[in-house]
């Protein structure tokens, strides 16, 4: 019997007052904390008689250490960090400045190089970074300011009073698999906050609570996502220059699926160089058998990639979803007591495959609004909605507006998408109309019975993408081998944090209708259908929550939308050191 995580009832919770609680210590949350500290320090110098304190400003981070759950390609557009810390080049861990970029379209064995790099993929002036190391550095800057970062603590619940968000409840610790308190049980705190800032990253669990409670997304397009599956490789030096950037489209996906790969040359270490490569698969594919981890493995088998990786060693693995619904999919980002930042809001430029600079910028703008709220001692919607206005008059909107219809243009496949992209480039993002409608990705998944009988002819994933992948152990890997390299670790004795609202649906309906796609889309082997003769279809859902890499794909892609990802006991999760 599966027991799912929920706050323990009937315990007295420690209360802690707070001025600002930032949930999530990624680039958005850290930038927000840092900017807030800058503003308070500036204020305190100017107003010696009206000092503001940083004592009660907190960042909650569910990872055991700062940056451990941060995963991205990553390329950094320095625009926002240069605004926040003009001297960043001297101290930020930047691995290489982009020197060279190329875009390819891959067929099974061949490749075509795009004669020119599309303007939005031109990366000169950007940097190859490890987001993990970059955020560690940002975190150390935050700690220097005196703001407290609580690592190993997740935001589990939002606290409400009427239509106002009044705080955040942290995770209960020391709860066993059956949901009982262990001898070292520690109840989560109620952090009573004047301002709650959600910077949880992609598909934030508190953000989801908030959006559902107030039906915030009613006027927005449904958010759409992709999942990026990444491996870090150590290669003999000279294969790819530090700062060399390659994008590919096409194989192994068909023209019906959205997605593509990146290969970034990072810095070298002696006789080896580090390469980041990964494949983003749009989570709006039709065939429930598609497996994003397998897509990456097949991609590596392409002669072009296999040659590059030959003799190298895979050293790290990870996966993370990313929101690329664009401008029209962003919900209101401020209200009574709350603001939403970065990937949680959907600030990501899907044409440029970049969101770190937007995350940082949104953090900076939210900090300015939070500062105003603290000085005025008013964090009502009237004050915090300033953040919404700031976003709309900043370069965040300017940048996202131009690509506001990009992803929707791909809903009918790649060729339609490229046509639409071209059209949108000429018309400043408009294309055929100002706002293209969008559809949630899970809506587009087809039941097994609806799949075309002859898959290859219809362009659905060909046989090479189906079924669990074995791997050769050198170039390609099965999921468990990859998973080992994510360093993921959780307290084993705790309730499952993948909250399935109706497991009966898994056992009786999904297995028949979709063939249990959770087993395929999860890049970490969390979901398993095990034999059970008491079930009508002979299979029962079983979970390995300890494998979870916190990518949120299940919450996004499940066709029935009955999986709710909530944070496990704080401190658990992947270890993306160097990723």
């Amino acid at each position: 019997m599966l027991v799912f995580r929920k706050p323990i009832e009937g315990v007295e919770r420690p209360q802690m007052p707070a001025d600002v609680v930032i949930v999530g210590g990624g680039p958005a949350g850290m930038a927000c904390a840092l900017r807030l500290a800058q503003l308070i320090d500036g204020h305190n110098v100017a107003h010696p008689d009206a000092q503001l304190s940083k004592e009660n400003i907190y960042v909650l981070e569910k990872a055991r250490e700062i940056g451990q759950h941060c995963l991205s390609g990553a390329l950094l557009d320095p625009r926002a960090i240069a605004e926040l810390l003009p001297d960043f080049k001297k101290e930020a861990p930047l691995d290489a400045e982009v020197t060279k970029e190329a875009v390819y379209f891959l067929t099974e064995k061949g490749k075509f190089k795009f004669p020119i790099t599309p303007p939005f993929l031109r990366d000169h002036g950007n940097y190859v970074i490890s987001l993990n190391r970059f955020v560690k550095w940002l975190g150390s800057k935050v700690e220097e300011t005196g703001i407290t970062i609580f690592t190993g603590f997740a935001g589990s619940e939002l606290l409400f009073e009427g239509d106002r968000v009044t705080g955040v409840q942290t995770d209960d610790k020391g709860v066993d698999k059956e949901g009982h308190q262990k001898s070292n049980f520690e109840p989560g705190y109620d952090l009573q906050a004047k301002v709650v800032i959600l910077a949880e990253g992609t598909r934030g669990s508190l953000t989801k609570q908030l959006i559902e409670k107030f039906n915030l997304a009613k006027n927005a397009n449904p958010q759409t996502y992709g999942v990026g599956v990444k491996e870090l490789w150590e290669l003999p030096a000279g294969r790819i220059a530090p700062g060399e950037v390659i994008y590919t489209m096409g194989w192994p996906l068909t023209t019906h699926e959205y997605g593509g790969a990146w290969i970034y040359g990072s810095k070298g270490e002696g006789a080896t160089s580090i390469v980041s490569l990964g494949f983003v698969t749009g989570l709006d594919y039709a065939d429930p058998r598609l497996d994003p981890q397998r897509v990456l493995q097949e991609f590596k088998r392409h002669p072009f990639v296999a040659r590059l990786l030959e003799g190298g060693k895979m050293i790290r693995y990870g996966a993370k979803s990313m929101p690329y619904g664009g401008w029209w999919a962003i919900p209101p980002v401020a209200g009574n007591g709350w603001m939403i930042l970065g990937d949680s809001a959907g600030f990501l430029n899907s044409a440029r495959l970049k969101g770190i600079h937007l995350a940082i910028k949104s953090g900076v703008l939210a900090a300015e609004t939070a500062f105003e709220a603290l000085t005025k001692d008013d964090s009502s919607a009237a004050t915090l909605s300033e953040f919404q206005k700031k976003v709309e008059s900043s370069w965040i909107k300017e940048e996202l507006w131009k690509v506001r219809n990009l992803h929707q243009g791909f809903e009918r496949g790649m060729f339609a998408g490229m046509f639409n992209t071209g059209l949108q480039m000429i018309t400043g993002g408009r294309g055929l109309k100002n706002r293209y409608p969008g559809h949630a990705g899970y809506d587009r998944m087809r039941k097994l019975a609806e799949l075309p009988a002859n898959p290859t002819a219809d362009g659905y994933p060909e046989a090479h993408l189906l079924g669990p992948y074995k791997g050769d152990g050198k170039l390609t890997f099965d999921k468990l081998t990859d998973l080992y390299h994510s360093g993921t670790k959780h307290e084993e004795d705790q309730p499952a944090h993948l909250v399935i609202h109706d497991t009966n649906n898994c056992n009786t309906r999904c297995v028949r209708e979709y063939g249990s796609p959770c087993q395929n889309f999860c890049p970490a082997n969390v979901y398993e259908m095990v034999d059970d003769t008491t079930q009508p279809n002979g299979k029962r859902i079983s979970l390995n929550p300890s494998n979870c890499v916190h990518c949120k794909t299940c919450d996004i892609a499940d066709p029935y939308q009955i999986i709710n990802w909530v944070p496990p006991e704080g401190g658990g999760g992947p270890n993306y050191d160097g990723m």
Binding site: P14, M16, Q68, T148, F150, N184, D577
Partner: protein, 256 residues
């Protein structure tokens, strides 16, 4: 009771390790954590303090990153911390580490010093024992239980094969603590916040330099074990297989 807990920052257990250029230790680019037995030693010290009052002080040696271990200990309830901070402390052997600790605490008067049973990285299991010798105190290793008595303490030691030994000892004493002696507590938000204002004394290498000398132990070479596992099939009728198996166990593997 005034208790000192010696703690160490070690590479995370599951971290993929890479050897350094000279093949004598690992590269620094791994994540670190509190050495597991030390976490139990700290927990035990906190429990003893809860029972008998007193003070818990934590000490570590290592570069700036090692301070994390002390901060975690302070967040869980230790009263103050001592950090012997220098990159060079990383390479010290157990003898010199113990000497450095003994020098750093010579002004203090502890009733008990706890260390973890051994470190997850070097695994010497010597620092605590040598420290006791340097201080001229009695020590006991692999401790599973500690009771205060009128004359001192009574401890339970774990021996091989499920046997335990109970020892009465006077104070002051050094104990090396076995993992699993208790259940670890979680740090709390308020604990983490308060830890920021707890005293942390830094000790430089220069302050203890005169006490330490050249390493008596040295790692010549580290290497990743080669996979040499071989599977051998023994075929034939059962009686013959049994005979061949016994022969192998007796004459090749010499386990019978």
């Amino acid at each position: 009771m005034k208790i000192l807990v010696c703690m160490k920052q070690v590479p995370q257990k599951d971290a993929p390790l890479k050897l350094n250029e000279s093949g004598t230790w690992i590269r620094e680019d791994v994540s670190y954590e509190v050495n597991e037995p030390d976490a139990y030693a700290l927990e035990e010290a906190l429990r003893q303090r809860e029972k008998h009052k007193g003070e818990v002080v934590v000490i570590t040696s290592g570069p700036a990153r090692a301070q994390q271990v002390l901060r975690e200990a302070l967040a869980k309830g230790a009263d103050r911390a001592i950090h012997l901070e220098d990159d060079k402390f990383v390479g010290l052997d157990a003898f010199n580490t113990a000497k450095a600790f003994a020098t750093a605490i010579k002004e203090e008067q502890f009733d008990l010093i706890f260390t973890g049973l051994q470190s997850d990285d070097y695994g010497y299991a010597q620092t605590g024992v040598i420290l006791a010798e340097l201080l001229g105190w009695p020590h006991a290793t692999i401790i599973m239980q500690i009771e205060k008595t009128d004359a001192g303490i009574r401890v339970k030691r774990e021996l091989e094969a499920g046997y335990f030994q109970f020892v009465d000892m006077p104070l002051p004493a050094v104990l090396t603590i076995q993992s699993g002696i208790n259940k670890l507590r979680y740090a709390t938000l308020i604990g983490i916040k308060q830890a920021k204002n707890k005293p942390l004394r830094k000790v430089t290498l220069a302050e203890v330099q005169s006490a330490i000398g050249g390493n008596l132990q040295k790692i010549e070479k580290l290497y990743v074990p080669q996979k040499t596992k071989k599977t051998e099939h023994i075929d034939g009728p059962p009686a013959e297989i049994a005979k061949k198996l016994v022969d192998k166990l007796r004459n090749e593997l010499r386990v019978l």
